[in-house]
Symmetry: C2
Subunit: 383 residues, 2 copies
Amino acid sequence: MKKYYLLTPGPTPIPEAAREIMAEPIIHHRTREFQDILREVIEGLKYVFQTKNEILLFASSGTGAMEASVANLLSPGDKALVIRGGKFGERWGEITQAYGIETIFIDLTWGEAVEPRRIAESLKSNPDIKAVFITHCETSTGVVSDVKAIAEAVNSTEAVLVVDAISSLASIPLRADEWQVDVVVSGSQKGLMTPPGLAFVSVSPKAWEMIEKSTLPKYYFSFKEARKAQGKDSTPWTPAVTLVLALKESLQMIKDEGLEKVFLRQRRLSEATRMAAKALGLKLLAPKAAAISVTAIKLPEGIDGNVLVKNLKRRHGISIAGGQAQLKGKIIRIAHMGYIKQFELLEAISALEKELAELGHKVESGVGRKAAEEALLSNGGKR
Amino acid sequence: MKKYYLLTPGPTPIPEAAREIMAEPIIHHRTREFQDILREVIEGLKYVFQTKNEILLFASSGTGAMEASVANLLSPGDKALVIRGGKFGERWGEITQAYGIETIFIDLTWGEAVEPRRIAESLKSNPDIKAVFITHCETSTGVVSDVKAIAEAVNSTEAVLVVDAISSLASIPLRADEWQVDVVVSGSQKGLMTPPGLAFVSVSPKAWEMIEKSTLPKYYFSFKEARKAQGKDSTPWTPAVTLVLALKESLQMIKDEGLEKVFLRQRRLSEATRMAAKALGLKLLAPKAAAISVTAIKLPEGIDGNVLVKNLKRRHGISIAGGQAQLKGKIIRIAHMGYIKQFELLEAISALEKELAELGHKVESGVGRKAAEEALLSNGGKR
C-alpha cells in the first residue's frame, strides 16, 4: 500500500475541494463566470496579504514575480540592496544583476537573520538605493526575517521594500499595510495550498510611483498591463484557469478558519517540531530566528541527510526536504505550511526517530514523538 | 440543465483523463517520479513539434514564451522583422519594441496571409535582420501562414525564424525539422488539450548560437537555465506540476491516435464548418488562407457578433468566440482544435442557424447543418 505524506516546503498538500474543482470541465476565461471568480480570488488574496493595495496575478512560479518586481520597479543605473542569507536571497541578487542593477549585498551566514539596523546603516551610507529586496522566510535555511523592523528602517527613506513572502504567506504573520511593505511577492504552492503555477504581488502607492518611471524592459510581467486588465476583472494574457479555480477553494478554507487561527495552528506544529528535535538531541539550524513555516534541523556528523530523506520516503511514504547548496546532506527541513495536520507531523517524527537510529544516531525510541505530542497538548490547551 | 460545449480557440476542452489526474494528491517535483514524467512529456512534445531540437518548458501562458524568444535571441541594437496581420502578430511587435529592438513590419489587412516573397525581399533589403517573427495561425483572423515557404526564404540568410504556433500546434501540420524552423513557440491550452499555464519553445542549433551571444536581460525565462535543468530531467524553478501531469495524459492521447490522424480529424471539422458557412450565405474572413484550427466567419451587415455569441452561450450552452479589436462584433470564430467532436460542431452549427435567423438573417432551417454533415460524410469516406 502506497500512501504519501507531503511535509515539504512546497508544493504542499492540496485540499480535496481545490483538487476536485480542477477536474471539472474547463471554463473560458473571457466570461462573466470567470470574472466573478477572479474578483473573489483577488479579494481573498487581499485578506491573506492583509492589504488594501492592488494585488496582481501572474501565470508563473514565484520566481517570475520576483523578476517582475525588479523589472517593473527599477531602471538602468539604479542601485539596489539585497539581503543574502540563503538560496532565495541569492536569487534576488541574481535577478538584479541579470538586469544590470548595481547591487549592494548584506551577506549572512546561512542560518542567520539580518539585523534590521544593518539595513538602516546601508541605506544611510547609500542614500541612492532605490529598492531593498529581502526574504521573509528563507526556505533554504528556515530563517525568518523581522519584516516589521526592516520596514521601519526602509520607510523613512525614498527606497521601496520588496519582500519575498513565497514560503511565509498564510503561515507567518505578514501585515503588509500595518507594517507598510511596498511590494509583497508570493506563490500559490505553499501556504495557499494550491498547485504551483500562480504568482502574486501586492503593490503600494509608493511602489506605483516608481513603476511609472521604470524603463527596464518587460512585457508578460508588466504590472501596468496587469493592473489595467484586472481593473476590468480580467488578465492581459490567458490566465491559468484551473489554478485560479483551485486557489478560490483554498482561499475560502483560509477565510473560513480565519487567518489568525491559521497562523496559530502552524505555530503549534513548528513548536512541536522544535521540541521533538531537542528531545532527539538535534539542533536547529536557526535557533534564534526559526520560521513558523518550515523547520530546519541540523543532522549529527556522520548522518547523510540525503540518505535519511530517501529512507523516509521509501520506507514510510514521508516526504520532507533535505538541504540545498552548501547545506546539502547536512540538514532536513519539515514544513508546517498549509494543509498539514498534526497527525501527519507526528507520523513524520516517529519515522524520523526510526531512521535516525537506523543510521546510527543514538536515540531512545519514542522520545521525539512524545515531546511533540506534549508540546501540541500544552499549546492546544493555552490556545 | 446546464451543459456547455466549448468551441473557443483556447482554452479548448480537456479530456477526462487529463482532468482527473489533476485531482490526485500532488507530487513533489524534485522526485524520480516527476523526473520520469517530465522526460516523457518532453519526448511527447518533440513528437508533436516534429523535431529533434531541444524543447524547453515554462510555467507561463504562451505570451511568456513569445517574450522569452525575443529576450533570449536578441541583443540591444538588433533588428527584427515582424509580420503583423492580427492581434498576435501585433503582439510580436509590442514585445520586440518593449525590448528596444529595431523592428521592421510587414503590415497586412486582417484576414490576409503574408506572401513569403515579401519576407525574402525584406531580408534582402535588410541583411542585418537577426530574427523573423511570424504567426502560424493568427487566432484573431483564422489565417494560416505558409511556414514552409517562409522558412525557405529565411534559411538562406543569417536570420532565425521564430514561429508562434500557439493555436496551430497539434492542429495544423508544422514540421519543425523538415522545414527547418528555428524556434517554435506554443502553449498548453489549444491543440494540446491541457489547461492554460504551460508554454514551450523548440530551439534549433542555429538559434542556440544566437542565444549564446544574446545580452538582453532575462532570468525566469532563460533558455540556458532551462536547458541546463532539463538536461537533468528537472526545471530551474518550481514547475506547474498539475499541468505537466495533465499534459502527459493529453500527449498520450495524441500519440495513441497518431499525429497525422489528429490533423485529418480537424481538417474534416474545418471543411465542414466552411461548407456550413457557405450554405448559410456567410463568407469566410480569410477565404484564401483559412486555418484548420479555427474558422473565422464574417457576419452580414446589421448582425452584432457580440449579441450572437452571447445568445449562443445563454440559450444553447455553446461557447464560440467573437471578433477582437477591429473585428469586434463583425466575425465569429469556431475552433476545431483538440478535444472537439463532430457532434459538438454540428450542434453549434444548428444553434448558429437558429440564432442568425433570430437576429434577422434569412436562412432556410437546417441547411447549414446539412452541408456540414455532408462534408463530414464525404470526407469520412475518402479518409
